[in-house]
């Protein structure tokens, strides 16, 4: 009797552990470098604690033509933070994996107008994200398609 109870306990613990691992692996598919449809930037999504954040790691035009210096967050509503560089800026914040290829509870920041929007991320396939920014309710928003940046494959030497 005791042996069978012990067996059930072991199976239950193993199942729970396996399910946690698979949940984490599923959620971590968001991690990587992504390119928005406008092609002006590349965003690296990483995990900090239990949530996901995306920072600008590449800009097509890294220099501000007016100043000749690297671009900064000049539209930030908080004036004291306007010297924050855009390269490295976390525009995606606080995303949590909900279920079924979807990350929510986060925000997206648009440096071009200094506005922050609610945001939901859906993975339509392993290399495509539908990023929907909205105000209030999801129907009042706009969706952009981001593509995963693939590392160039190494060519074999002949």
């Amino acid at each position: 009797m005791n042996k069978s109870l012990f067996g059930i306990l072991i199976i239950a613990i193993s199942a729970f552990t396996f399910s946690s691992f698979t949940d984490d692996a599923e959620a971590d598919r968001l991690i990587g470098i992504w390119e928005p449809s406008h092609g002006k930037a590349k965003i690296k999504i990483e995990k900090i604690g239990s949530k996901y954040y995306g920072k600008i790691v590449w800009l097509r035009e890294p220099t501000d033509p007016e100043t000749g210096a690297p671009k900064v967050d000049k539209n930030n509503p908080d004036e004291s933070m306007r010297s924050t560089p855009l390269r490295g800026y976390r525009i995606l914040k606080d995303f949590e994996y909900t279920d079924k290829d979807e990350w929510s509870e986060g925000t997206i920041y648009d440096p071009e107008n200094g506005s922050t929007y609610n945001c939901i991320i859906k993975m339509s396939d392993e290399n495509t994200l539908d990023i929907r920014g909205y105000i209030g309710i999801q129907t009042l928003g706009r969706t952009d398609v981001w593509k995963r940046l693939k590392m160039p494959s190494k060519k074999k030497k002949k």
């Binding site: 900090i48 604690g49 239990s50 949530k51 954040y53 920072k55 790691v57 690297p70 900064v72 908080d78 004036e79 004291s80 933070m81 010297s83 924050t84 560089p85 390269r87 490295g88 976390r90 914040k93 606080d94 925000t107």
Partner: protein, 174 residues
């Protein structure tokens, strides 16, 4: 007669609400010091160092006893970041540095930036946000302090540490 009682009741209720809203608050300063660390290699661009901070309200402000519910606002007065003087790396290795707070139950918050770093040596005072309120972080058991160093070049060192000091201004309900 009934209308008179209603009016009196309404006036008393409004007076009570005004008294509650005008509850006395006190301002106190507190300093938090942590060591943030990160593992290399570090590539050119921003690289994050992290420190976990456990909230202990009992020891935060000397002689003051308060609970998380008593905290009305926490502003950032100053943020100082330094590299241990024993380290071979200096501030001239970085373009800029920023500090952010992260936690499971509060949105990530930028609290300070210094861009560019126009100084040599090992310690800098960042420009802290004048508007930010980080009270929500002190209503949790712990949070993470994130230091983003923007490396000028790739660095193949194994790790990097930084000392971070946050000077904070607490508004507490009394």
């Amino acid at each position: 007669m009934m209308a008179k009682y209603f009016r009196l009741g309404f006036i008393l209720l409004a007076f009570g609400l005004i008294l509650t809203a005008c509850g006395k608050t006190e301002e106190h300063e507190a300093t938090i010091s942590v060591k943030a660390s990160g593992n290399g290699p570090f590539f050119a661009g921003p690289n994050s160092l992290m420190a976990n901070y456990t909230v202990d309200l009992a020891s935060l402000i000397e002689g003051q006893s308060f609970t998380a519910a008593d905290i009305k606002k926490v502003g950032v007065k100053a943020v100082n970041v330094s590299i241990p003087t024993t380290d071979s790396i200096g501030l001239d290795s970085f373009n800029n540095v920023g500090v952010q707070l992260v936690s499971d139950n509060a949105p990530m918050t930028n609290i300070a930036i210094l861009n560019p770093i126009n100084t040599e040596g090992t310690a800098v005072v960042l420009n802290s946000s004048a508007e930010v309120d980080i009270a929500d972080f002190f209503k949790q058991e712990s949070f993470t302090i994130l230091v983003d160093w923007d490396f000028k070049e790739d660095s193949w060192r194994a790790n990097l540490n930084s000392n971070v000091e946050l000077q904070l201004n607490f508004k507490i309900k009394k």
